[in-house]
Symmetry: D2
């Protein structure tokens, strides 16, 4: 017991208070938002609260709801923290009457990260000459800085540091006569990824950017309609899944029906492939199949590509679970829960420094020592971002007496940041940006480390021929460095793209 | 879509506020407490906070810590809610200095259920002529009412409605000259189940009742020692698991070492078999084996006893998972996550009425529709208490298009209440108290329903010969109705025991 | 004891929670705001907090502070409730660093009365092309509705319901090149009463409207400067009172000195005479004399105009105190505290309905029964608004056994609403709008009721010749119905001004 | 401006958070408690809340209410802070049903000063063999330490650090068969000062110690009854003042009527004379006269004893006001408010150190500079304790340009601590314990300083012959050092009484 001393020096306090903000892994890519809207049912805001609750994995920092009722007009409530803690009391929900409501959960915006003010919490609202409108935005505007500068010079006053506020100011200045047209006008000036849910006094509006990077689906509930980032939120309110909103489509919905428009120039779509890997909930349906099944298929593909002899297949909880099951089914190696998650945390905690993050993993995960001892263990995780969690988990497994540790990763190496609505570390913090697969294996000091290939991932998500390198079927910029929309603001701040020749 | 109307009538508010108290399943038996103590390391209360956090599954309603420091004397903090929300700030932890501390998490006491006052939250503290002492108690005193009456007649003033307070008053009136002897004196008057962690100004004390109904383990941390309900809480602080405290043993611990006493008349031990089935965390070690492995073995045993042809084995999350894995491994039927739990809830929410509880399940669980459709599904759950959750889950699975639903339960029918520190419904609310297995199957309207046999359960926990009906190796009163300690207070209140002849 | 039953029916709860918002009398005119700013001293926001605390009588609903520091940039904190409850902790004040800060306390705005959102709390902030600016406004803009409509049509997005937000949007659209000039530009479009304290990154700015309706004073603190609604707030921070800002003057202050501009067309000034009667704190200095002395002089004048034989002169606490002392000194009738105020309330509580307001007076005031019994009592109050308090106090005095009750009021009958930054009831709720002095006496059922004459009031505030009816020296619209600025928004909403001929 | 620098160095934060606990003067003696009880009216706890609100000046740190209802049994709520902040919501008051309730407000106990735990907040409750009882105690037990030691040795467990808890433990051990007799039994063991309000399931009980040191009065409300520390709290609920409870009397009250007992050996009464000087509210009635009138009479007596030529008589607000009015009426020198109190504070703030206390005075009080300048000012205060406030006020007055400052004090020099329920500094902190009147005048650097004589004070409170030095009519130990009850605990801790010969 040589270095025990360090083990028994407790931190100044046993938990970091950032646990209270926990729930997303400090070593994961983080989806930034979920959006939800309902029209044509009584107490629409209650359904929105339920929907946002089901989308909580897409953003835990804050949430907001705007409703409209002919008598009460537009009402809003925006709060930090979980939906279940803020939009549960009769007292709050009574302030949001009406048959039309939209809502938003967010992790953080491009703006004031770490110091988010309540004014940064969406939906945003604007009063126009022809009436008010509220919008909720999932994605990221890649020319937001330039738009903001232009709007301020023209006399707009920004209330938030969010890139999404540009949309409402652009709408305020549009020359069009009605709000849907003003929104088209505004969104044509916007570059990047966006799935928007918006509302006027009488209409629920949904829009996806021309590439369809972020998801958005349509549901039917009674005589009304719902829009949601994912189908799992339709399930929670008992709504029927109708279809996905198409890339570049705008739907304008009233209780009477759904009008569809295509205001943008048509392009080939590039849906975010990472939604399949990690962001979406396993019980959501994407492309006609449950995300769970896709992830199981990724695990099977991984077992085919990178087999290894071992005694147990263990998931890194919870996000590695379906792929681990797939790996086990394909390989015939028994599946077991070698690592137990403390359920009184969320996925993992957000923590400010890498040092505390390392510590955090001990608090959240525990190894099933008696099970692991003397075994050859395959650990399946969804991705490796900074690599800090992986290293820590490997140490826990070895401390518990495992004979061998083999990592299998259900996505290719994450080597490039995302600028389309995902919170990624700076490029130099990404393990795969600076190391080859072997270097990573050595860095993690494991017996083997294998990532699924990009083609393998494409096959698992249903592209039998793999990736079409001429015209990729998905946005996979985080793996390939090929950005379907030029990240203008980031380039202006010095980000260097991959040379075209590479 | 015939009865859609009812589906689209939202509740008055979308969540019941009782979610805030969530985390234990309204349809589960509930362990009432976890205890933890540390002596001989700096900032002992920080370790206690971490330990209690790891034991949070044993009680989510409230927690408390008492520490002692030569300068500050005894200090305490007791709060409602989670450890992570109450014992995380530097501000709170600084009020609990010293190298000696104990703590307690509780679900509820025998006393003022649902209206718990903070004064009911342990540890309890008493100032005696020879100095102060604090105690934390896991279990239940079955002659508490009689003791309380006697003590009040002698002039004691009770501050709480907790049965555990009797212990400290008995200690106050003992004629012995030091605190450990006073505690022996007091505990010899107490009937029922108890694992006690206590402290004086210089000593950490642990005691288990003669039957050893509730767990208690000893760990080594640096130059100090720890006592814990389960080994998983030793892991979180990096302590080494030394051994279980024996039934009927009292340990008196100082930094210098551990003294062992056996103050009670020796008896055969009767450890709670339900700790294996549900209460303990899967990564804890009981009887030399991880609880996870035991549960996997229960699943295997169940597959042997009650096989059925099917396409998928799905756990009822999260407590049915290890048994489902065992069932799958034994039967060869693929394991799959057919039901997804919303991670932003705890296990399930506590809710006041059965009606809301039914609703609760929809909020917390979602079926993986695309996966389940057209399949024959085996659902593995740890136990059936009221049966409300089971019925609801079955409906969800059928709604999603499953072809057949087979329930397999990893414990025998729960037909009798527990009086030894577990919160069970009144007997008439237990489904198995009023129905046979077939009646339950009909009631739940499933294709088949099978419980593991009592002998099968004993085999799975390591008794190769099964249950010794002359002298059972475990307390299994909840299944068998055979109570190892006469529940005196309950009999006085009209509870009828199983006729001896039965 | 005939109607005792009604006396012993307690309210559903003993206090109305609106007490928590208390402090201003439901039967008083309410000043809407206080402003304060400091430049050139370290930790400027701390001084602003102290200044706002001293101005708390001008607004208790909410308060805000904006500071600027070269490193931290603009920072702000806005809260509901008292300054002492919100701007006292090190934690909050550390977020407001720098040598330049402004602040605001408010009662309510013209906007969302009773439902004030935090976004309505000043100071307001705007980012312009040449940098940010924050403004705090005391007064009321009488053409706010029209301005707002115009700005929205041009594409501005309002975040609050406050009339004051117009100023910052007008500034955003100004063609001028620096912020002080943009402010001049903006304020030239604004009608009504305003005392504004504003700041850029380097400058503290103060402006009074051309009539100088609301007060604003300049002070010197060390090497820095302060602007304040009243001198009492200079005293609290140890600043020296330099001079009043002149009507129509804009001062632009840096640590180096004070520049003075007169951007508006010159007019005769019309300072609010009610500041002397009630709004300002008695220890503030207005026109070179303490407000206390002016109020004592009003009492003396009232004693000359309306003498009566009596045993005691009692103030209606606390606002009637100085005038009662003056009346006593002039008349020789002993001064006594016949009514005792419960110090754990503020002035009086704000309460939603007249019924509760009546009850409120009993909670807040108690009669000195032993003292009053059998006496002829002169009660001196500052004003009569709705008359509800007066009637209640009269009843208390009579219940206590007074022989006679004579009311003397230190202001003329309040018959017209104020539109310049004071919260007055609708005209029909003003007792003096519908009754003559005799009718009011009968309504209140007192032995006599006399108001000071308008000329008497002018004499007391120092105009030896009384009111110049051609060109009144003060704004006395609430007494005379002569509005120095046309209340455009109110006329548009149907308010009827006094016929010119009257 | 030589030492301006120090003036413009702000504190780390502008207010000390101890302001939040404000309301009593750090330089005043502090009454420790107020008690109130009601029987025989619906919703008794609401009346108790109102009564405690009216008694808030007797204790601001915390308050508690216990009620009894046949169905709900005993219920209690105990909170830190003001009555208006804790006992106002319907939600809280509904938890306190029934026609019988008692309550308590406290400043602090002899126990854990500054670290009061909620468990120290009265009323205390005990369950006895014949039913429960709750007690609320105003006063101090001078043999509490000895009683506590004895009770612990017998096996009692104390939950609080309050001296008052002894009473309930003595009651628990009494051999008597009913609660009133047990209370008599207990109180006969208690030495010191006590006014107790207690309740059983059916009875309201009031007791005063044999000397009647602390006040207690009886009122009639509808068909029920009330007990209160002062009559002002009867006024607030519309109850009729019946009579004072006599020294040594116990009243046992049911809705049917009031039984009177005298369980103690009779003695001459010794009511606390400081209740007249400062503690009681001016609108309360003591000895048939309003406290206000008594204080005015003290001022008149002071003017007779210690006249001086001057321009103004100013009170030190607020406690000096009635004596200042009396001084003015007797002397003919005009009364004026030369010092203005910031109404958003309480009397003064409690602050931890003398240094901050000095600062505190500036925050709370402001001089009416324009009024004071060039004047000879008589300042009338109720008492001088540490002298810190007096010195500060004198400086403020001189800074404002006063020509002369004359202090007149409405009580004799406070030279001895009180041990009967008042929080006094240690003897060496009392200015008058170490200085003569001239030394104090020099210390304060004022033009003159005069205290009323002890005989003068007795005359003003109605003893025409002054003090009977053989058998003083009042307890005046704080002035005379003659303690009517031997302070046993204090002597044991080293307190030295005045030599008998002196």
């Amino acid at each position: 017991m040589p270095n025990l001393k360090s083990k028994i020096m407790p931190p100044a306090h046993p938990f970091d208070t950032s646990y209270l903000r926990d729930s997303e892994d400090g070593d994961k890519l983080k989806e930034e938002c979920g959006v939800f809207g309902v029209v044509g049912v009584a107490d629409a805001s209650n359904f929105v609260a339920l929907g946002l609750h089901a989308l909580q994995h897409r953003g835990q920092e804050a949430g907001g709801i705007v409703s409209h009722d002919p008598e009460a007009g537009f009402q809003s409530a925006r709060r930090f923290g979980y939906v279940r803690d803020n939009f549960t009391s009769q007292k709050v929900m009574e302030t949001l009457p009406g048959e039309l409501a939209i809502g938003h959960v967010r992790y953080s915006t491009t703006g004031s990260k770490g110091q988010t003010a309540i004014r940064d919490v969406q939906p945003f609202f604007g009063e126009f000459a022809m009436g008010g409108a509220a919008i909720a935005h999932n994605g990221n505007i890649t020319n937001a800085n330039a738009l903001r500068r232009e709007l301020i010079e023209r006399g707009s006053i920004f209330q938030s540091s969010s890139d999404s506020e540009c949309i409402i100011h652009l709408m305020a200045r549009s020359l069009q006569r009605n709000i849907p047209e003003r929104m088209e006008d505004a969104l044509r000036r916007v570059e990047g990824a966006f799935s928007v849910v918006a509302m006027t006094r009488t209409k629920l509006i949904g829009v996806r950017d021309p590439l369809g990077v972020r998801p958005l689906v349509l549901g039917k509930i009674g005589d009304g309609w719902a829009l949601s980032s994912e189908t799992c939120a339709l399930d929670i309110i008992g709504a029927e899944f109708v279809r996905e909103i198409e890339p570049g489509e705008m739907v304008v919905i009233t209780p009477k029906g759904v009008e569809s428009h295509f205001p943008f120039r048509r392009q080939s779509s590039r849906f975010c492939i990472f939604e399949h890997v990690y962001f979406s909930r396993p019980d959501s349906i994407l492309g006609g199949r449950s995300v769970y099944e896709t992830r199981e298929a990724i695990g099977r593909e991984l077992a085919k590509e990178s087999p290894v002899e071992a005694d147990l297949v263990c998931p890194v909880p919870d996000s590695g679970t379906p792929a681990a099951i797939g790996y086990s089914l394909e390989s015939g190696i028994p599946y077991a829960m070698g690592i137990i998650r403390n359920q009184y945390m969320g996925r993992t905690f957000i923590e400010p420094t890498e040092q505390i993050r390392n510590m955090g993993v001990r608090l959240k995960l525990n190894v099933n020592r008696a099970l692991i001892k003397g075994k050859r263990v395959i650990l399946v995780d969804d991705s490796v971002v900074r690599g800090t969690t992986s290293r820590k988990i490997k140490e826990m497994i070895l401390d518990a007496g495992a004979k061998e540790v083999h990592f299998r990763i259900a996505s290719p190496p994450t080597a490039w940041p995302c600028f389309y609505g995902v919170d990624t570390p700076q490029r130099e913090k990404l393990l795969a940006a600076t190391m080859s697969e072997e270097e990573m294996r050595d860095h993690l000091a494991v017996d083997s480390l294998k990532f699924i290939s990009l083609d393998g991932l494409y096959r698992a998500v249903g592209e039998a021929e793999g990736r079409n390198s001429k015209c990729p079927q998905y946005c996979d910029a985080c793996f390939s460095g090929e950005y379907p929309v030029t990240p203008a603001d980031q380039l202006a701040q010095g980000f260097e793209m991959k040379p075209a020749a590479e």
